[in-house]
Amino acid sequence: MSVLSCPLPIPTDEFVVLGHGSGGRLSARMMEETFLPAFRNTALERGDDQGVFEAPAGRIAMSTDSYVVKPLFFPGGNIGELAVYGTVNDLAVGGATPKYLSAGFILEEGLSLDTLRQIVDSMSHAARRCGVEIITGDTKVVEKGSGDQIYINTAGVGFIPSGINYSAANVRPGDKIILSGSLGDHGITILAQREGMELGGDLHSDSAPLHLLCAAAMAAAPTLHAMRDLTRGGLSSALNEIAQKSGNGMEIDQRAIPVSEVVRGACELFGLDPLYVANEGKMIAFVPAAEAAASVAAMRNIETGSEARIIGEVTEKHPRMVTMRTSLGTERIVDMLAQDQLPRIC
């Protein structure tokens, strides 16, 4: 339908223009034609300035993340999916059942509406897959050159069952460290796209929702202490953060860490360390030794956790430091990386 109802002779049904962000007729049209059909839910359709939902008694978790990944589309996902899964995962690793999301968009003038629709449709599918609803949002438009096509922010809330209180502070020496799967798939996929590299062996981003995986781990291990999803900065950042906050040391074994052949090849080629490369569908769990095996078994029954395994344990030696037994049998420190190895990865 390209009947213009406003006097501006711009093909507003093809590209984003400044008017789409100014709250007037164009904004309304974008809402009607793009966001509402995709995000269909009662709260959103009420059309109020806020999304309203019922909350059970108990604790509510809230999380937010912004997405600036470049390129927008890549094998295994796109910026829209990342925006939904990322926030869902941040809630899930806290033991919360993700329920509602907000979505804020900053669009660059000139962005193809078709591209926007594809992204929004992806978000709709992703949300349904996770059982969450996008109940409120915002759209702003910036002049051409002032933003890189599209930035997305999502914030989310989830409900935490009573009795669950996951935190780095709970982590204790003796806890086993469980990793849900192979490292570096997302980061290397993005690098390959940017560099126009040919990838053998079906490599794609591991972008995925982890709510079912977390639920399985939790159910199998009532004494689970903490979980963390891995994103930028890779496994190393997540381990070091927990080491810092819990005050404990950690030891992992290089031989236990799964890395696909393609990711290994790319890392060798570019001098990257898989421990520091970004992931978008992996998590770590800290589980007391007695329940670790059960947790791994339960995780392996879930698609996103089919390669789950124990990669190390928490120790009272070298507090706040993460060390690794190398494939050579020597021990080395796994430190926080000073800078991002690869920019704009998620």
């Binding site: 560099e195 090849g265 070298h318 190398t326 050579l328 020597t330 021990e331 420190i333 430190d335």
Partner: protein
């Protein structure tokens, strides 16, 4: 990965270490030249596996680290020119010049691009005919033939908007300077494997002879380096001073003649200043006059200026192997990868960066790689 994983095998490594311990009767002092070799040693904690007293001195084999401040400033000047696109490898982006670095120039709007090959830079030149593309080429003899090839291809394809800012250095003259110094303690040398795969072994025979120094051409994986160390100790224990080739799967005695031909066609030997070591005669390469149209120095008329190093940086001592990074007062405190005072902290092959990433807590006795 084939031809890689096998050289990280724990059993083989342990066997080599055991062999070493049974052979070594003295606290030998050895040097590895190449930054890549330094990185492997530190990353795998190999120097900690050596018999007590044996020491590895880390040589000046990090081309980024030895690039003088003046040269970096030239690159920065070019990057700030409105019509220029400066292309270089990732490492060079964070090396500080006297006032800023390429990453900051990029952030302020300068056109700086990270590439993985000089041919990528040539491609950018082809795709941007109205801009001037300068490739900032830093490296040893391994990197020189590829850079020379890019210039040669530019000439052949009539690409006039491409030029090379060359900062090439040669290993043998620097080695001679280090070995001639009165404070030199090096008793055995691991020669740089990939450099030798290009230039061959002739230069190293001369050095072994001149200084009565055992030399083993070594690879870059843990097993390669351990095997090279075993061979060196063997020579030292029996009083020999020869050139042996541990990296024989990739290094031929004559090197790569085609690469050598390209190198000498496009580049010629010149005097070169090494950061931390000073000027060493006939230790660098520059673009020959016949290719002046692709020589950024000639094209842009960049003047040489003298620049002073930050006072606290002891990169000179580090590059000469006289001090180890933790002995620097600024190490980890005022000099970090985020705020480096000198190049060895920035380059991934720099000794300071390697120590910072893997050995920052050297004092923690439990974490030390073993007996020293």
């Amino acid at each position: 990965m084939k031809h890689l994983d096998e050289y990280r095998d724990e059993k083989i490594a342990n066997a080599l270490v055991a062999k070493l311990k049974s052979k070594a009767t003295k606290p030998w002092v050895l040097m590895e030249v190449c930054g890549g070799q330094t990185h492997t040693l530190v990353r795998y904690g190999i120097d900690g596996l050596l018999p007590a007293g044996m020491e590895m001195i880390h040589g000046p084999g990090c081309p980024v680290c030895v690039t003088p401040l003046e040269t970096i400033d030239k690159a920065l000047t070019l990057a700030e020119m409105p019509n220029v696109i400066l292309a270089t490898y990732g490492d060079m982006m964070r090396v500080p010049g006297s006032t800023t670095d390429l990453l900051h120039v990029k952030a302020k709007g300068g056109n700086v691009r990270m590439v993985y090959s000089p041919l990528d830079a040539l491609k950018i030149a082809r795709e941007n005919p109205s801009r001037e593309i300068v490739f900032f080429g830093v490296g040893f003899e391994t990197t020189a033939p590829p850079n020379a090839a890019a210039v040669w291809q530019a000439g052949r394809q009539g690409i006039t908007n491409f030029s090379l800012l060359a900062s090439h250095v040669l290993v043998p003259p620097a080695l001679r300077a280090l070995l001639s110094d009165s404070g030199n303690r090096v008793q055995g040398l691991i020669a740089p494997g990939h450099v030798c795969s290009i230039v061959g072994l002739d230069d190293y025979h001369s050095i072994a002879h001149e200084f009565h120094l055992p030399i083993v051409v070594g690879g870059f994986e843990p097993v390669d380096l351990l095997e090279a160390i075993v061979l060196l100790v063997d020579q030292l224990e029996s009083g020999r001073a020869e050139v042996e080739n541990q990296y024989s799967r990739s290094v031929r005695v004559e090197g790569n003649p085609l690469a050598q031909t390209m190198l000498t066609d496009v580049l010629e030997v010149c005097d070169r200043k090494w950061r931390g070591l000073g000027e060493i005669p006939k230790s660098g390469l520059k673009v020959r006059a016949k290719y002046a149209a692709w020589d950024a120095e000639a094209k842009f008329g960049l003047a040489d200026k003298f620049v002073e190093e930050p006072k606290e940086c002891i990169s000179a001592m580090i590059l000469q192997g006289r001090k180890k990074p933790p002995e620097c007062s600024a190490f980890g405190v005022r000099c970090t990868p985020e705020r480096p005072l000198g190049a060895p902290m920035v380059s991934s092959e720099g000794a300071c960066a390697a120590y910072y990433q893997y050995r920052r807590y050297e004092s923690a006795a439990e974490l030390a790689g073993g007996a020293r």
